[in-house]
């Protein structure tokens, strides 16, 4: 026996000792997308700590872009290695699922984040202050709005470059959220991506009070919903004696007979399951922005810096729907006769509520917020299908919708007057005459929101409605189409306003962006049109990715 073999033998013998805590078995390769992003976020924090102020912007932007691109490459690598299909598995001791939906959604989130980082880094839209180029974020977040400290910070040319690591932390959480395979990981991921978002919401350079109010509301309501979620998790643990998805699903399906003695009083109690399940659902519906858990959305969307709003509207929705899909399809499929009718109701009030209230909105950011609520309803219709087509249609819709949203908010950052972004709709009157290109691009996004053919919105809506109808939710589709009709009204109204109204004399001007925002908008338009004209490849991709591992 060689020396090495002896060592090995000793090692295995030692590992087999009964009272030794087993060392966790981590598949670093399969977790690499998340690890890269979180690692880069920590690097970003170090940059803030050690690099001189002048160099931070370039360094942060570089690190963020490289990290997101590398993470995306890692996702592609995993998908190419069949981890999305035949080799789908549960990694990290059952905490993280590596499967088709997870990889598809992670890829989408990473791309969205990459484009969003471009808009975060935009420094040509705001007028130059004291010789310094500034972005959309407060000079110094801690300074009191309007106070002397703020003025000094502006004069000194400070910028909040912390937004880049914050975004990376949020993205890290979002990557875990849809792939979380137990309830605790789910909760941790939720908090990891929520907390940076609360901070980001408070960082607007203009209208700082509004921004801070939005952040506080978001934080309070987010904490409130987290409490519900956590309590739901506790109840589910009481019911199943475990927090892993597969474990709970087994108990729901009645495959577990031996009851843990400590939980003898609660285990298998359906009341716990139903109440706990409803509360966990509520926590996810809050993030999605479904009625009646939507009320934070308009205020936060309006108050947050517009690049953050775009990122949040796109990426949060992707992550949250991913988690919702996994919860409903992996944990609670045995319970679908209980949750389907309830989700029907939620989808209906969400579609109708979002569309109806949007009709009377006068602020473009609030309008887009209500539009995002209505779209959450449309996606819920696909979720309710409970078929593989339902999963793939939702995946496709999320990818399509997130780029439209990102592009639309990027356009909003361009239309400005003396007070910053001119978000009141009356100021957009006649924009098509003054800036035909910008207005036309915005019109493309609006048409995609409305679901007009040859845009990605149509392909996505068609996919989810078809899946819902095939899944036996025909009535829901009818209501969805009615809501779409209502929604079309306010989208088209903006187009009419832009192209068929006389321009105002005191109307806003359109700022000329740097290549960063331009490319973000261009990518948005390109994805919108490509997914609209030739959606089949991506629909196939989504349907290949449409199977959850358990």
């Amino acid at each position: 026996m060689t020396h090495a073999a002896t060592v090995h033998s000793l090692w295995t013998t030692a590992a087999a000792a009964p009272d030794k805590i087993p060392s966790p078995d981590i598949e670093y390769g399969q977790l690499s997308p998340t690890l890269i992003v979180l690692g880069a976020a920590i690097v970003g924090v170090l940059i803030e700590a050690f690099l001189p102020r002048r160099q931070r912007y370039a360094a942060q932007l570089f690190v963020s872009v490289v990290a997101l691109a590398a993470a995306f490459a890692a996702v592609i690598g995993l998908a190419a290695g069949d981890y999305g299909t035949s080799k789908a598995r549960v990694a990290a001791m059952g905490a993280i699922a590596v499967d088709g939906p997870a990889l598809f959604l992670q890829g989408t989130i990473l791309l969205v984040a990459l484009v969003a980082v471009f808009t975060f880094a935009e420094r040509r839209l705001d007028p130059v202050a004291h010789g310094n180029r500034v972005d959309s974020f407060a000079a110094q977040a801690a300074a009191v709005p309007g106070g002397d400290a703020e003025k000094a910070a502006v004069k000194a040319g400070f910028t909040t470059t912390e937004v880049f690591p914050l975004v990376l932390f949020a993205v890290g959480g979002m990557l875990v959220f849809p792939s979380a395979n137990d309830l605790l990981t789910l909760f941790v991921a939720l908090e990891v991506f929520s907390l940076p978002l609360y901070v980001l919401c408070a960082l607007a350079r203009r209208h700082r009070m509004l921004s801070q109010e939005a952040a506080v509301k978001y934080f309070l309501l987010g904490a409130f919903s987290s409490a519900f979620l956590l309590f739901g998790i506790a109840l589910l643990y009481g019911y199943a004696g475990t927090v892993t998805y597969a474990g709970i699903a087994d108990v729901v399906d009645g495959q577990v007979r031996n009851v843990t003695p400590a939980l003898a009083g609660t285990m298998g109690n359906d009341a716990l399951l139903l109440i706990g399940g409803a509360m966990v659902l509520m926590g996810l519906l809050f993030k999605i922005g479904a009625v009646p858990f939507h009320m934070w959305t308009p205020d936060v969307y309006q108050g947050a810096p517009t690049p953050v709003t775009g990122f949040m509207a796109a990426a949060t929705k992707v992550a949250a729907f991913g988690a919702l899909l996994r919860l409903l399809y992996v944990v609670l499929p045995g319970l679908r006769w209980d949750w389907r009718p309830v989700m029907w109701g939620v989808a209906i009030v969400t579609m109708l509520g979002g569309a109806i209230v949007a009709v009377t909105q006068t602020d473009v950011k609030r309008l887009l917020a209500y539009s995002s609520i209505a779209h959450a309803g449309f996606i819920l219709a696909g979720v309710i299908a409970t078929t593989p087509e339902g999963i793939s249609s939702v995946l496709f819709y999320l990818a399509a919708y997130s780029f439209v949203t990102l592009g639309a908010f990027a356009v909003v950052t361009l239309v400005r007057d003396a007070g910053g972004e001119a978000t009141h709709l009356s100021k957009w009157a006649g924009l098509g005459r003054r800036s035909p290109l910008v207005a036309a691009v915005f019109a493309v996004f609006l048409l995609a929101f409305a679901g007009i053919p040859l845009t990605s919105g149509f392909a996505g809506k068609f996919a989810v409605f078809k899946a819902a109808a095939d899944g036996g939710a025909g009535a829901l589709v009818v209501i969805g189409v009615i809501s779409s009709a209502i929604a079309a009204f306010f989208y088209i109204r903006v187009i009419v306003l832009m192209f068929f109204s006389e321009p105002r004399t005191d109307g806003p001007s359109v700022a000329v962006p740097s290549p960063l925002t331009s490319s973000a908008i261009a990518i948005g338009v390109a994805v919108t049109l490509v997914l609209g004209v030739a959606p089949q490849y991506f629909l196939d991709l989504a349907s290949q990715a449409g199977v959850f591992v358990r």
């Binding site: 309070l220 409130f224 519900f228 858990f293 949750w339 109806i356 009709v359 009204f489």
Partner: protein, 646 residues
């Protein structure tokens, strides 16, 4: 040789494209280009004709497929041509007469600043008509059919600055649409019955289809033919179509358009032979129209409208003959050709007269023109003799055969149809003599001095005549030469066709022929025709030749007044179709405004109101939002538990 067929259509089509897209730079030579391309088409036709004569009578048909038009699964539509004896006859008529009308138009439209466009439309008309008669399937025929409709619309309304012309164009187009619907339904029925709409298989399989289907197809084809050929009940557009320039009338009435219906029925012969009811409908339409048109023709003072009535009547003869089946097909086409010659000649003559008389069309203001315009007089006179069927001239040969064939139908039906045809011949003689006498004979009724026997002429008519006193003169050569050529045709064509039954032998392989079983001998029919002819002429002479003609029309009998109003056709259409249609649309508009708009606006208003109210829930207070979430969660949990309980 087959490849030449396409060029028949392509030449005038090219002309139309050149002239309509070429712009002003072609203004100076546009009419030559148009005429040249029409002539080119005629030359190609003549070459093909010569070549066709060289082949045996049963393999004269040529086929040429240009390309697959709509190949979709079991549905195949090709752009393919078929040139057989029937098509050949039409090709020569269309291109020959068409070319003459082109030449005539060079002079007639000389002072019109939109002459280039006019020639473009003429070329388009020829191209469409050629496509119609050359198509080897019904769908392609339909393309030509619609093209003819379009071209006629453009040409009738050519003087679009005149509201009457614009209205007439619309009327022609709309009435034709009714017929077009018939054709499209017939084509669809053919496709469901036979699985194809190519002539050869459809017509060969016709006897396998049920009689009901064949009757339906036949009636729809008849409807189509009624529209294009101005047969009762779709005749109303023809008279108004006189608003177009006179060469257009000549083209519509002689060579194109109105002959399309006769072609369609003759071509679809096997379908009608399998559907006796449809055939009965065809002969009824033909007989009624031939009398209808003739009666209208008697009452009109407008020379072109009188000729229009005559066209309607003559086409009625052809439809009648075509409806008789194999007894009549050949004679229908033969009459069509001879009619093409003399009617074109008559119209060009009428145009020549109008040209001389400052575009006056009222025959009561003509008179004694024979000395002023001798060539027009002679050519018009020959056309006149031909149309009334004067022995030896073209019309005599063809019309006589149709009357004979009508009697040969046999039974009571034969007597009725034959009688109607004979009566029609008498009326034709009457009204054509009337036209002739009013225009070229008698004393002149034009000029400022009113006739002594008519001192109470209308002041309005006086003032109209006063500012432009006509100086009748012969027309230029470009106009007279075509008239002479057509007059020659009017005189000799019929005789030439009847020599050794030449036309019968020529067409028989395509249409078939049977002699029928006539209760009267050919000689008896001819004698009868001569007698009614003489009566008609004599009556007209008694009324218009012996006595001076009043410048304003007398009130006339009830029938006369009705005939002046086209036998109340427009009144009938107005009461039976237009009024109900208006009530229907008014009703629909009312429903649209009150009901549909009400629902739409009401929905919009309620959505807006709801939106405004729901918006107030969004009051900006985090506590309200938290309550909403709390309530929502409570409902969510309650609903989940409820679902389990149910």
């Amino acid at each position: 040789m087959e490849n030449l067929i396409g060029f028949l259509v392509a030449a005038p089509l090219l002309g139309a494209a050149l002239l309509l897209c070429g712009g002003r730079r072609l203004d100076g030579k546009g009419h030559y280009i148009g005429t040249l391309l029409a002539a080119a088409s005629f030359v190609i036709g003549a070459v093909l004709f010569a070549e066709m004569l060289g082949r045996g009578e049963h393999d004269r048909a040529l086929h040429s497929k240009v390309f697959s038009w709509i190949p979709v699964g079991g549905f195949r539509a090709d752009v393919a041509f078929q040139l057989d004896q029937l098509s050949m006859t039409f090709v020569l008529l269309i291109t020959g007469v068409g070319t003459l009308i082109h030449i005539y138009s060079i002079g007639y439209m000389e002072h019109d600043e939109r002459r280039r466009r006019f020639f473009g439309y003429l070329n388009l008309f020829l191209a469409a008509m050629l496509l119609l008669v050359l198509a080897d399937n019904y769908l392609l025929l339909y393309v030509g059919w619609e093209g003819v409709g379009l071209a006629s619309y453009l040409l009738i309304g050519f003087w679009q600055h005149k509201p009457s012309a614009a209205t007439a164009a619309k009327k022609a187009f709309i009435v034709n649409r009714v017929g077009d619907v018939g054709l499209s339904i017939a084509i669809m029925l053919m496709f469901t019955t036979f699985g194809t709409f190519t002539f050869a298989p459809v017509l060969t399989d016709a006897d396998h289809a049920s009689e009901g289907k064949l009757t339906a197809i036949g009636l729809m084809l008849l409807l189509a033919a009624c529209g294009k050929s101005a047969q009762v009940p779709l005749q109303s557009w023809l008279g108004d179509a006189m608003e177009g320039p006179t060469p257009v009338s000549a083209l519509i009435h002689a060579a194109t358009m109105v002959t399309a219906g006769v072609y369609l029925i003759t071509r679809s012969g096997p379908i009608f032979e399998g559907a006796p009811d449809a055939q009965a409908a065809v002969v009824t339409v033909g007989a009624v129209t031939l009398l209808f048109g003739a009666i209208v023709g008697c009452a009109k003072d407008d020379i072109k409208k009188a000729l229009a009535g005559s066209t309607m009547s003559q086409i009625g003869y052809m439809i009648l003959a075509a409806g008789l089946g194999p007894i009549g097909y050949v004679f229908a086409i033969m009459h069509l050709v001879t009619h093409g010659f003399f009617k074109a000649g008559l119209f060009l003559g009428a145009g020549s007269v109008m040209h001389a008389m400052n575009d006056e069309v009222d025959m009561r203001k003509y008179g004694g023109l024979r000395t002023y315009m001798p060539i027009t007089f002679v050519t018009f006179g020959l056309g006149y003799l031909a149309i009334i069927g004067f022995p030896g001239l073209s019309g005599f040969w063809s019309k006589d055969k149709i009357i004979e064939a009508a009697f040969a139908k046999g039974g009571t039906e034969g007597w009725i149809l034959g009688g109607a045809a004979l009566l029609g011949a008498a009326i034709t003689a009457y009204y054509m003599t009337r036209v002739m006498l009013l225009t070229f004979f008698g004393e002149k009724r034009w000029g400022t001095t009113p006739s002594p026997d008519e001192p109470s002429a209308e002041p309005a008519a006086e003032s109209a005549g006063a500012h432009a006193e006509p100086h009748p003169h012969e027309s230029p050569k470009s106009m007279t030469i075509p008239m002479i050529v057509l007059a020659v045709g009017s005189v000799f064509a019929g005789g030439l066709f009847s020599l050794n039954d030449a036309f019968l032998t020529w067409l028989e392989p395509v249409t078939g022929h049977s002699h029928g079983d006539s209760p009267l001998s050919a000689a008896a029919v001819t004698a009868g025709t001569m007698v009614v002819l003489a009566i008609g002429v004599a009556l007209a002479w008694a009324q218009y030749g012996r006595r001076p003609v009043p410048r304003t029309a007398p009130r006339g009998s009830l029938l006369t007044r009705a005939a002046r109003r086209d036998l109340l056709q427009d009144d009938f259409n107005h009461v039976a179709l237009v009024k109900p249609g208006q009530y229907l649309t008014r009703g629909l508009v009312y429903l649209d405004h009150k009901l549909v708009d009400g629902v739409v606006n009401g929905t919009a208003a309620s959505v807006g109101g709801l939106s405004g109210r729901l918006r107030r829930l969004q009051n900006g207070y985090a506590r309200t939002y938290a309550v909403s979430m709390f309530g929502g969660t409570a409902v969510l949990i309650a609903a989940t538990l409820l679902m389990r309980a149910v």
